[in-house]
């Protein structure tokens, strides 16, 4: 059985080593980075579909905004043009069923 004295000294050495490795971590970034990159690259494929879907939103919105501006200039096109971006936006936000259920009422 370890004596209290040895236990205490060992615990301090262990804590000290833990602290050292924490402070040394940025210095040995070369060894740490590949592991981090590996984890991030491994994580990317999972999140990739989401990321691909996200850029579509602004792309779809921008033309909608311009068509709205254009529609304000021409009064006759207003109803048709404004409805289109609404129907275009809603599916992208993931609530495609929502307007179908609500709007008929």
């Amino acid at each position: 059985m370890m004596k209290t004295k040895d236990k205490l000294s060992a615990s301090v050495r262990q804590a000290k080593a833990g602290q050292k490795s924490e402070t040394d971590a940025p210095e040995s970034a070369e060894t740490a980075k590949p592991a981090e990159e590996a984890t991030t690259t491994a994580a990317k494929p999972q999140s990739a579909p989401l990321k691909q879907a996200a850029p579509k939103k602004p792309a779809a919105r921008k033309p909608a905004a311009t068509t709205r501006k254009a529609s304000t200039a021409t009064a006759t096109r207003k109803p048709t043009v404004t409805k289109k971006p609404q129907s275009g936006e809603i599916p992208e936000t993931g609530s495609a069923l929502f307007p179908k259920r609500v709007w008929p009422d």
């Binding site: 209290t4 236990k7 205490l8 000294s9 615990s11 301090v12 602290q19």
Partner: protein, 211 residues
């Protein structure tokens, strides 16, 4: 003559910083005018000094906001000794400046593994402070020692892992230290009841401050 500055520091709360600072100041006040600067927002030193019926032997002032070593020396040059009671954090402005301003840093440490682990950053901070304040001398002071406890007996050896010398003088776990705080006095003012504790504080002063 510039004021001699002793900072009582430790990032760990409950290590006995205020107890040491106040009793140390009381001991030093027997040698010359002494001021305790309470840098801890908790204001325990100030509270301690206001409790007593008799005036505390050292002046106690609270200091907050931004200050540096030069302003401290200038502001308290009328006192022979200045004792800084630091907050339980090494990241605070007060603690960093205290280490840069002081002649001696006293670090009370309890005979407990948790306290040892929590104090492991101290040598690094002392080394950092020495870059700005080369005259800085730092010492660990064992506090609340229990002679019959195996942990207390193991402390000196365990502290060899630190790169800071440990004082031969130590403070025992004594109810009279807490009693003095409650009465708003120092152990020196408690007569025979505080004699042993006062002797411990005297030993600290003689070992590091007056030599």
């Amino acid at each position: 003559m510039p004021t001699h500055v002793t900072a009582v520091v430790n990032q760990k709360g409950g290590a006995g910083k205020t107890t040491l600072a106040m009793n140390l100041a009381a001991g030093l006040s027997r040698r010359g005018d002494t001021v305790v600067i309470d840098l801890d927002p908790q204001g325990s030193s100030r509270q301690w000094a206001t409790l007593g019926n008799a005036p505390f032997p050292a002046t106690v002032k609270q200091m907050s906001g931004k200050w540096d070593a030069r302003s401290l020396q200038k502001g308290f040059q009328a006192y022979r000794y200045t004792v800084l009671d630091c907050p339980p954090s090494l990241d605070s402005h007060a603690s960093l400046q205290a280490l840069r301003a002081c002649d001696i840093a006293l670090i009370p440490i309890l005979p407990s593994p948790v306290d040892l682990w929590a104090s492991l950053r101290l040598p690094q901070e002392i080394a950092e402070a020495r870059k700005v304040n080369p005259k800085l001398r730092a010492f660990l002071l064992l506090n609340q020692m229990e002679p019959r406890s195996a942990l207390s007996a193991s402390m000196r050896e365990a502290l060899e892992e630190f790169d800071i010398p440990v004082l031969v003088a130590a403070m025992r776990r004594r109810a009279v230290y807490r009693g003095a705080a409650l009465d708003g006095v120092s152990v020196y003012q408690l007569g025979g009841r505080g004699a042993q504790a006062a002797a411990e504080i005297e030993a600290v002063i003689n070992e590091v401050i007056t030599q």
